[in-house]
């Protein structure tokens, strides 16, 4: 009876480590196997069970620490990659907005070249071509891209705000002068 109970304890110890071996991360497997092999050489079944329990604790601690270390590193790397991508999209938004403004200015100069009196008599066609149309396009672009590609939308919005500020300052200084 006692012998049977003792062997049951040893069996439990073996099963425990066998279970850990199945679930352990790959880098821990040789260590769990090593602990499992040692069980056969431990005198005393209860000592074997305590050996197995200690081994389980050691493996949990080691794999937990490893998980924290690699997990944080991966998260950090992923975060850096994501930030880089976002910055690129914002930059692209700003560049596209700047291109649009350049195109509007070109259009304005072209129109002024072909029909000078209109732009000399009243200022609003200039405002429409150079400021209003691009700003409307910026707002539409920002709204459309906000859900799909927010960083790019932010870039366009940023360019729109800068451009609007510049335009307002230009008008104010023009009318003061």
């Amino acid at each position: 009876m006692f012998a049977a109970r003792r062997s049951a304890v040893r069996r439990l110890a073996t099963r425990l480590l066998g279970l850990v071996l199945c679930c352990a991360p790959r880098h821990c497997e040789p260590w769990v196997s090593a602990m499992l092999r040692e069980l056969d050489f431990i005198e005393g079944d209860w000592a074997a069970l305590f050996w197995a329990l200690g081994s389980v604790a050691a493996i949990f601690r080691h794999s937990g620490r490893e998980l924290l270390r690699t997990g944080f590193r991966r998260q950090e790397e992923a975060g850096m990659k994501e930030t880089g991508k976002n910055v690129a999209w914002v930059f692209l938004g700003v560049v596209l907005a700047a291109l649009l403004v350049v195109c509007a200015m070109g259009l304005f100069h072209l129109a002024a070249h072909f029909y000078p009196p209109m732009f000399q008599s009243v200022p609003w066609p200039t405002w429409v071509v150079v400021f209003l149309v691009p700003e409307i396009l910026f707002v539409v672009g920002t709204v459309r891209l906000w859900r799909k590609r927010r960083p790019m939308a932010v870039g366009i919005l940023l360019a729109a705000v800068v451009f609007a500020t510049h335009f307002v300052m230009h008008i104010v200084s023009h009318f003061r002068g």
Binding site: R37, A52, S55, A57, A58, R61, H62
Partner: protein
């Protein structure tokens, strides 16, 4: 990475230094040092991670499961000897300080 040198780690290094050329079994080290598996194996893992400990599987006859063996690497031996020396020097200094005081 710096290895934390606890008294348990020093015990393990001491056990290896007793027979530096020999490959040792985990259970034997545990008996020699009095450390339980939950303390011993994390130390062995850390030493192996830092290249201070070599591990190997015993070659045995077919049908018999092999056992894991451990031995300090040359770097590990140097590390263990340096720490044993510095520890001994520290103990001597402490003893001298006590004697003077």
């Amino acid at each position: 990475m710096k290895l934390r040198l606890s008294s348990q780690t020093l015990k393990v290094l001491g056990a290896f230094l007793e027979a530096p050329k020999e490959w040792r079994y985990g259970y034997d080290i545990s008996r020699d040092t009095g450390l339980k598996s939950g303390t011993l194996y994390p130390i062995l893992m850390r030493l192996a991670e830092r290249g201070l400990l070599d591990t190997s599987w015993e070659t045995v006859e077919a049908g018999k499961p092999p056992r894991h063996l451990y031995q300090l690497t040359p770097d590990g031996l140097q590390f263990a000897r340096e720490h044993r020396r510095s520890r001994a020097a520290g103990l001597r200094r402490a003893a001298l300080g006590e004697a003077k005081g």
